[in-house]
């Protein structure tokens, strides 16, 4: 809310500045589908994911004045979602809810049996990753953020992004291939 103080003299009104609220809601709304996709992959559950998106949207509206006009709104929203997510993980009150609605069942894609198993495997394997590794593999692999954008969204140096990404992908590969994890990766530079 913008506040102004005036004399009760209407002549003083000329000095007033009217800040028009940009159509922030509409701009943010464009990104909801992608935020939902990322949240779904991150949490693995529809209701929890939409809770996360809702909290993210509320926070984005609150903080919209901090967004630098012209910068990438989507990357900024991912930053907010990351912060909200981390806060939720920290709060012990955070519980996971599972919901299996008819809608969710319908949303399941028809797929060949092997595809289905493979896809489930990847989803299952994702759940076995530490949160920080799951975040990076999704931001880069699913959301196709650049390494720089991912580093910004997660608030870590790019070197950390690369080492987490490397560990996450190798871990996923091993889980899916039923291999014990290989510790000896090439040194990340």
């Amino acid at each position: 809310m913008t506040l102004y103080t005036f004399d009760k003299d209407p002549a003083g009104a000329g000095k007033s500045v009217c800040i028009s609220v940009v159509n922030q809601s509409a701009e943010i709304a464009l990104h909801i589908p992608r935020l939902r996709r990322y949240a779904r992959a991150l949490t693995g559950e529809r209701a929890t994911a939409d809770d996360l998106v809702q909290d993210t949207l509320e926070r984005a509206l609150n903080k919209f004045h901090l967004w630098r006009q012209g910068s990438d709104l989507r990357a900024w929203l991912f930053t907010i979602m990351h912060n909200v997510y981390v806060n939720q993980l920290r709060s012990s009150a955070h519980t996971r809810h599972e919901e299996l609605t008819e809608e969710a069942l319908e949303a399941a894609q028809p797929a060949r049996q092997t595809d289905m198993l493979e896809m489930r495997d990847l989803d299952t394997a994702l759940r076995k990753l530490p949160d920080e590794q799951r975040e990076i593999v999704l931001l880069v692999g699913l959301e196709q953020l650049s390494y720089e954008e991912a580093a910004k969204a997660l608030g870590v140096p790019i070197g950390t992004v690369m080492s987490r990404l490397s560990r996450a992908r190798e871990r996923l590969r091993c889980i899916m291939a039923g291999l014990p994890e290989v510790a000896a990766l090439k040194v990340v530079k």
């Binding site: 913008t2 609220v21 709304a29 589908p33 196709q144 990404l165 590969r173």
Partner: protein, 252 residues
Amino acid sequence: MSRLPVTETDLHAYVDGALPEAHRAEVAAYLAARPQEAGRVQAYRQQNEELRRLFDPVLDEPVPERLQAVLTPRPRFSPLRYAAAVAWMALGGAIGWQVSDMQQTAPANSAAFARQAAIAHVVYSPEVRHPVEVGADQEAHLVSWLSKRLGTDVRAPQLNSVGYGLVGGRLLPGDSGPVAQFMYQDGRGQRLTLYVRTNTESNRETAFRFAEEKDVGVFYWVDGKLGYALSGEVAKDELLRVATAVYKRLNP
């Protein structure tokens, strides 16, 4: 051709299509000679593809109502029977985040007052059938009733000279007791509301203050025993013009 060592970072950038053309060829050549590394890179590529296959369908799902609701705080076009309840919650939330801003420039008490006035405006001004409890045709009764409930003389200023006619008024609950709301309307159906409460500030008189949330502007001030807030979805200059008229009418 000089062969730079291929790093783990290069392999990931290769997977993610983030390598410059020249370097990409180098990595491809490197992998061609190392089937084990190539297998690993291939597995990473498949992870990316499968992630998209797995989660892209979410993009096509309809956005749940509750998420849209976060971004559409003012349900002007929702069914009237729900309008009041929804507007209270939605606008309350929307304005809530800005109270901290307001507190920096105005006493918390009066900032909350402006907020309440804005909410009451949004709740009642879209009403078609029941915008007021007591219509302007019973103005004398309206004024004496509200004066009695507020415990002090309340007047509904005549604003015909600035283009707004009285529609009527209603009694509302405020933080510290009853509050009166008068509704005005111009020839095009544009509505303004004047929210009046007994003054709880120490000031006996304040300047006009202006608060704005989305399209709702609020001029509010204290004058003697009463605090006033004029709200409307009109240009600020227009609202100021009317607020000035209200003030002059009440202080002839």
